[in-house]
Symmetry: C2
Subunit: 350 residues, 2 copies
């Protein structure tokens, strides 16, 4: 075991602060990573504050990790010292169930191991995330990051990026499709970038007219203000796909009305009881409301490669780790464009 | 115009009674049908009582019609006098929009014409349904009924039958798939028959243990009592498809839990605001909740042909038209196994 510095919390109500945690020494198939940057995901806040009721303390968040390989185990062939790599939401899974065989480790039937707050089979305790100086991960869960990208802005691709990419990919969104991205936050801004890069007619759907300019800069062809009933009526029945990134429950019926017959709205944000939808909304037009959860490791690598080709990264606001509690408050108020990323140098030198 | 006898109502609160209505004389592409039997669909009651707020009076219900061709227009080639035919929920559509071109007239973009309470372009008033002695329908909306079937029990195939057949067909349900049919009523009992005939492992899912015996007689391989949490837990994540025929809002989350990853629950019954589902229910396992509405004319003919091959009809309780108000009350209490069918002789001789 090696003791390292991290930022974590001991209780749902305490601020995050500097703590010491232990990382295992590398095993045969492990990769040890010097963490350069870590994104701040809304899930980090839900977990730290135990909003989902399953938090184990101390809790060290962070599952949007970018760093360089420090050392590899004797059995590792895919990575070598100095490689630019990423770690997302998962660090382990059974590797043998039908979900893992289908490269969908996020749905591992034995239970995937989250990058933090997951069951750590090596220590018997919980896993600790990327708000730390280094991490040891089995090679199957380490991703290669294209060197041409702006490294600081890569971290959010590992969660916000793959979540939106996977939805578009799974539902075969292609050039010319009319795609609506609902909600402009960490997920939504990546949804726009990916839909635009695919060549879809990309419409930002938002309640806020003041987001229009930014949405277009990010790649939206047009902006639809969901409170404008006349505009919504004009777009009725015209969308091939809706990517709903709104992180809280909301009236879904007006959005479902926007879908073409036999089309789908995918929910990726609201992990809570949704507002009632009308049965007629989906029965008329044979529509679908579906869910999607991050992506498997293979697809995450495909997403990173796609980003490398298309030069896609997140729009980020850099912070030092000492600013994390303030950043949490601002994320809660949706006051960030569009993702905080922690420069981990600030932890190493603290 | 020809004046004929029908059973209809003049207001949402009045009983149905004998009235006179007018039918157009046949045009070039029309088929005139002597109505032998008409099924009693729950929609008939919703419409008569104006539950959906769009009823026009007098309202003559009935969209599960079986009869014999009396006469055909000069341009009709598909039918001749004496043919055994059916008419379902639709009697007209634009025939040119993309939905009509895809043989999905139920989703006609100009608006399909319901068999009753729809806009009648010939009279400028509303259409009148099958609680009547005869009907005139353009040939594109007339279906050929296989002569080998028990005619009395065919009528409900035109609505309850196609609704369930189309869902299974659209989602490519095949031999060996594990299919759950939720709710045992007019729709559910047809769902069981079709899923069983396709060769699916057919599980009846119901709140009522006393329905188990009947479900097995209808073709269910097993019955899952949804109130039994232990049994529900055993089936968790095991279904390839769920056909949800429950006609009213209900907690969908326990059913969604039954689905395999990437599988679908189709709602065909509850045309009303549904109870909230949990976002996590569909996000975990990338599941889908979809809708389905009857079927197009081509698919309805395929359904009837399938029924002819597999000798499938509904389980019916025959009534005279004079018993219709009592039948409505019994349908409302779910006290029918599983569909009332009116013997229209009782109207003709009244």
């Amino acid at each position: 075991m090696t003791t390292i510095k991290a930022y974590g919390t001991e209780s749902p109500t305490a601020d995050l602060e500097l703590i010491q945690i232990e990382r295992r020494n590398i095993l045969e198939n492990d990769v040890k990573i010097d963490i350069l940057y870590c994104g701040v995901c809304h899930s980090d806040i839900h977990s730290a504050r135990n909003d989902w009721g399953n938090a184990k303390y101390p809790l060290v968040p962070g599952h949007e990790i970018v760093g360089r390989v420090l050392e590899v185990g004797t059995g590792v062939s895919k990575f070598k010292e100095g490689d630019l790599v990423g770690v997302g939401c998962l660090v382990d899974s059974c590797q043998t169930c039908s979900a893992c065989e289908d490269d969908l480790e996020q749905f591992c039937e034995k239970g995937m191991v989250g990058t933090y707050n997951g069951p750590n089979k090596h220590t018997g305790k919980q896993t600790f995330g990327g708000y730390s100086t280094s991490i040891v991960v089995r090679e199957e869960f380490v991703l290669l990051v294209p060197e041409n990208l702006d490294i600081k802005a890569v971290a959010p691709l590992l969660c916000a990026g793959i979540t939106t990419f996977s939805s578009l990919n799974h539902w075969n969104i292609k050039k010319g499709d009319k795609v609506g991205v609902i909600g402009l936050g960490g997920l939504g801004h990546m949804g726009i970038k990916f839909a635009h890069a695919i060549g879809a007619e990309t419409i930002m759907i938002t309640t806020s007219p003041d987001k229009a300019k930014d949405a277009k800069r990010l790649g939206a062809d047009a902006v639809l203000i969901s409170k404008d009933e006349d505009e919504m009526a004009k777009h009725k029945g015209s969308f091939d796909f809706l990517l709903n990134t709104v992180p809280v429950k909301h009236d879904m019926n007006p959005y479902i009305q926007l879908l073409k017959r036999d089309s789908t709205m995918v929910m990726v944000g609201a992990i809570e009881p949704l507002e009632p939808m009308h049965g007629g909304s989906i029965i008329m037009g044979r529509k679908r409301v579906a869910g999607s959860l991050i992506g498997g490791i293979k697809e995450t690598q495909e997403m990173l490669d796609f980003c490398g080709e298309h030069n896609i990264v997140s729009d980020v606001e850099m912070i030092d780790i000492q600013e994390i509690n303030n950043a949490f408050d601002r994320v809660t108020k949706n006051d960030v464009k569009y993702r905080f990323v922690i420069d981990m140098k600030s932890l190493k030198t603290s």
